[in-house]
């Protein structure tokens, strides 16, 4: 699209991802303020486990768009914090299934509340229509690069 050319200059800050990291940083701060001692990366893993427990590390890779070493280490740290447990699969001994501890289950309500508040803060003044279009753009970009 050559007629996108003139707009690119302003988009380089998007490449370096600074709007999304601004939200991420704020969420991290709000977690801390609420007494929640987890990182947003750890939270993003828990988020998918709250939806469905007992996923394999590979499934968590796909869900969070991370590579395998990243998930290995995030699960390492979540295990150290006693928030998840690796359970070897009985059908396939290569696979670890990841389960939540009681502590992690208790984290869900409060942390989702903080996350929702943070998104409200960030999206204040943005209309639903604008959000829809922004999501479309993100999906298109993601598909283009897959």
């Amino acid at each position: 699209m050559p007629n996108n050319q003139f707009k690119k200059g302003e988009l380089y800050s998007f490449i370096t991802g600074k709007a999304s990291t601004a939200i991420a940083r704020r969420l991290q701060k709000n977690f801390k303020q609420a007494g929640l001692d987890i990182t947003i990366e750890q939270w993003s893993v828990l988020y998918h486990l709250w939806k469905e427990e007992g996923q394999s590390q590979q499934q968590l890779c796909d869900a969070t768009f991370r590579d395998k070493p990243s998930i290995t280490r995030l699960v390492d740290n979540l295990e150290k914090l006693k928030l998840v447990k690796r359970v070897p699969s009985k059908e396939d001994r290569r696979i670890n299934l990841i389960y939540l501890t009681k502590e992690a289950v208790q984290l869900q309500e409060k942390s989702m509340e903080v996350a929702n508040q943070t998104l409200n803060e960030a999206l204040n003044g943005v209309t639903n229509g604008q959000i829809e279009i922004a999501k479309e753009v993100l999906h298109t970009v993601y598909d283009n690069l897959k």
Copy 2:
């Protein structure tokens, strides 16, 4: 905005920043393929120095939305690669002014070409109108969190 509520679930992957890091990762790969041995973070610093040389580290912090330690270390690494030089300011001895080496000047053309190609790839099928709105959303989010 309580009527944004129902849309949030789909936005959490935006918090963890995966659309923009997809572009960043692709740009990194394209740099490598083109024989450019710099990281996108280093490139984002060079990008602002190509626009104006001799900026202080603090100015680079503001331009790239990074904190001071991050810029200290990016400049460290860029100095190791012999792409920039720290020059102490004569007016204010606290300040380092950052200048480009000949090698860094020569990097500009090729790396901007690769960056433009990458953005074309990523934004293929996205209309100018959609881009405008996405940028508005990013700016609003950024202002909300400042």
